[in-house]
């Protein structure tokens, strides 16, 4: 794995270039890791995946927690690991000890032996040794060490313990690291304590790791307290190593992360939008002024997304977003997707996941462009203003 920082903007935000192994082309950061279930996207089948923007769409996030019941480690090893099992040779896989949709960390069950998770197979206690066995079988390009993630409201003592444990488990994982293994990202936790976050980051940065996986976010902390916590971590970490985060996926949250110097993001935003029948529509052309619409918000849409279940789309023969080059917008209309949602057809989710992923990857491109031009702060302000603009108008008109 290879990472270099290429450009800076307004402080900590940076553009980098990542060679993660797997994907033959370098990937620019900040970038989005696509969410998967058992290695494949939830709805986008592997033959449609290449139609997404390249190479942005070639970083996939998975978790050993997805493979707890099957296939067995023996089968996975026999097949040869993730790339072989999924037929996705030109893709890079990052394996993390968390899945924000199905496998939430259960901090009460976690103890010194292992990390506890609520999974579809029930409550599971994962020890470092087991975790590393799964990592060796799966052979991801990047993997994060096992972490004790605690929610924002946890006690000081419990928080301190989580930091100690996570650092210990990092050492355990490194010791068990197979020689030809992927790049290890040290897990950093610390809850909502700036002090603990800083302490953990310092400890982890002393270890021989290729990058950092920042856990424990998206578990109850408020958006207001987050920047300080993120900065406490990134201030301590060496600049030339990549930083990955889990659990913060909304556009505003991504901007917070980028502003703090994070490079890799996962997001459940696309999944939730897709299941809800929403399609992303926020303006991608930075030169155009965005006009907020009160009418949209009455049907659950806003400047960022439209609710395709709404009856106003029954006869709308336009694509989700005019000019969008994704498979969905090039081939289908809002009316058709509205019908598919109405009759509960799986194709609706497939088409929506394609478009939403495409659109969100475009958002990350905009972020990188803004950083390269040195205008990232301005970009953030404008973006947030536009998103909130319709709320102001709605309040005024109501």
């Amino acid at each position: 794995m290879n990472f270099t920082v290429k450009a800076w903007s307004n402080g900590r935000a940076r553009v980098g270039v990542l060679h993660a192994g797997g994907c033959p082309t370098a990937i620019e950061t900040p970038c989005l890791l696509l969410s998967t279930r058992k290695g494949l996207p939830v709805f986008i089948s592997p033959d449609i995946l290449p139609s997404l923007p390249s190479p942005d769409s070639h970083l996939l996030q998975t978790s050993p927690l997805h493979f707890l019941d099957c296939p067995s480690l023996k089968a996975i090893s026999k097949i040869g690991g993730l790339h072989q099992m999924l037929g996705l040779h030109g893709y890079s896989f990052a394996a993390v000890p968390r899945d924000s949709l199905l496998c939430l960390p259960n901090c009460d069950g976690t103890n010194k032996i292992g990390a506890s998770f609520e999974t579809p197979c029930g409550r599971m206690l994962i020890k470092s040794a087991e975790y590393m066995k799964m990592i060796s079988s799966l052979k991801p390009n990047i993997w994060a060490s096992l972490a004790d993630e605690v929610p924002a409201w946890t006690s000081e003592k419990r928080n301190r313990t989580s930091v100690d444990r996570t650092v210990q488990w990092l050492d355990d994982c490194i010791a068990l690291d197979p020689a030809d293994g992927g790049a290890v990202f040290g897990a950093i936790v610390g809850g909502s304590s700036v002090g603990e976050r800083s302490r953990c980051a310092q400890e982890v940065s002393r270890r021989n790791v290729s990058g950092y996986w920042i856990g424990g976010f998206g578990l109850g902390e408020s958006m207001d307290e987050r920047p300080a916590l993120l900065n406490a971590v990134t201030d301590v970490l060496p600049e030339e190593k990549p930083r990955q985060i889990c659990g913060i996926g909304l556009p505003e949250e991504v901007l917070q992360g980028v502003a703090a110097g994070i490079d890799l993001f996962d997001s459940t935003y696309i999944y939730h939008l897709t299941l809800g029948g929403f399609a992303l529509t926020f303006q991608m052309d930075r030169s155009k002024e965005h006009v907020p619409s009160y009418q949209l918000s009455k049907i659950g849409s806003d400047n960022a997304k439209i609710n395709l279940r709404a009856t106003i789309y029954r006869k709308d023969t336009s694509p989700i977003v005019d000019g969008c080059s994704c498979y969905t917008c090039q081939n289908h209309t809002r009316a058709y997707i509205n019908h598919l949602l109405n009759v509960h057809e799986m194709l609706a989710q497939i088409l929506l996941e394609i478009h939403n992923t495409h659109h969100y990857l475009g958002f990350f491109r905009l972020i990188r462009e803004a950083i390269k031009e040195g205008k990232f702060e301005l970009f953030c302000q404008k973006f947030i203003q536009t998103r909130r603009g319709h709320l102001v108008e709605a309040a005024v008109c109501a």
Binding site: L40, V42, F67, C70, S72, A75, K78, T333, L347
Partner: protein
């Protein structure tokens, strides 16, 4: 013809359908008339445009779904009376109304409304249904507003009675329709009766018009019916069985849910060239089926690929003059012990296809 009930094949994009060689898709008039309604489809330019399917479409008449899905559906001379599933109001689907709906949907082939009776029923009802079907075809023809764009197929009824079937065939052929369907089968009758009806109809229907056996079906049934001279088929089987975790393979079926599959690192079918068999193992598919949408998608893709290939292979082998060899090869893979079912042997004999090389000699009984 894969069945795209509500304007989509479950879990596949139109692009994927094109890629696997699908030429024509069936849409269900009953479902589409309910949602999004035939008027909306018409307003938006027809079903081809609505789903963005550049190839052929066929719609059924809506009658079968009504009878099979709805309580209190009843058939009278006027049409099919039923309770609207939307508001419970009594409604009537006449031959005229069925054709008008199908005119609006705009499929390339449309089906006449027939009086369809289960083959397991006996008695005068079958005769009544056969004659009514003939009276209704005239009403369908009269109501059809787009004969130069949409091909109206008639449906042969008559239950399992060869006399009735013969009368129906003659009646329909007399109307000189673009194509003919053999209806009223695939409903639980025994296979021996099934093939005989198909054989009788294909022998009597014109050589130069397509013959569509409705609701068929299993790969074996398709091979037999093709040997007997049928051309078109529709069935939900490949996609529905995929959603239950079953894959179609030359040997028959493979149940991916089975625990034995959990450690099986072979592809579903080593002889299949579809992207599922080229990239995935049984073990991996096993962990997806019935739990993740992706499992349904991948298996549906494979199953439809299998069916499309079967159609192509049948077609090519006939053109190349090696159809009997193809049939033998097919039967040998499916019945390696030579235990080809008797009905298949009988049907092949009538079809004039020699399959003695793949049948174990019958024990004297």
């Amino acid at each position: 013809m894969p069945v795209g009930t509500q304007g989509t094949i479950k879990g596949l994009t139109t692009n994927q359908l094109e890629e696997i060689g699908c030429q024509i898709v069936l849409g269900n008039t009953y479902h589409l008339a309910l949602r999004p309604t035939s008027e909306l489809i018409d307003e938006l330019g027809g079903l081809h445009k609505f789903m963005n399917w550049p190839r052929a479409l066929l719609t059924d008449s809506g009658g079968f779904q009504m009878v099979s899905l709805l309580h209190l559906a009843d058939i009278t001379e006027e049409g099919v009376t039923f309770q609207s599933p939307v508001d419970g109001k009594p409604m009537l689907l006449t031959p005229e109304e069925s054709i008008q709906i199908q005119n609006r949907i705009g499929a390339d082939i449309i089906m006449a409304l027939d009086d369809v009776v289960k083959t397991t029923i006996t008695g005068p009802r079958i005769e009544e249904a056969m004659y009514r079907t003939l009276r209704w075809i005239d009403r369908c023809i009269a109501a059809h507003k787009r004969p130069s764009e949409q091909n109206l197929f008639g449906i042969v009824q008559g239950g399992l009675d060869p006399v009735l079937r013969d009368k129906c065939v003659r009646g329909l052929v007399h109307r000189n329709l673009p194509g003919y369907a053999i209806g009223g089968l695939a409903g639980g009758e025994d296979k021996d009766s099934f093939w005989r009806v198909v054989a009788q109809c294909t022998a009597a229907l014109p050589e130069d018009k397509p013959r569509y056996v409705m609701g068929v079906g299993y790969p074996l049934d398709i091979v037999v019916c093709s040997a007997l001279g049928a051309d078109m088929y529709d069935c939900v089987y490949p996609t529905r069985t995929a959603r239950f975790g079953t894959a179609l393979i030359p040997e028959g079926v493979l149940k991916l849910k089975h625990t034995a599959m959990a450690d099986d690192v072979r592809p579903i079918d080593p002889t299949c060239n579809c992207m599922v068999c080229k990239n995935y193992t049984r073990a991996y598919i096993h962990c997806l089926v019935t739990k993740d949408a992706m499992g349904s998608q991948l298996l549906s893709y494979h199953n439809l690929y299998y069916m499309m290939k079967l159609g192509r292979d049948l077609h090519t082998s006939i053109i190349q003059g090696c159809f009997p060899e193809f049939v033998c090869g097919f039967l040998q893979k499916m019945f390696p012990k030579g235990d080809v079912p008797e009905w298949v042997c009988n049907a092949m004999e009538v079809a004039g296809i020699d399959i003695s090389s793949c049948c174990a000699p019958f024990s004297s009984s």
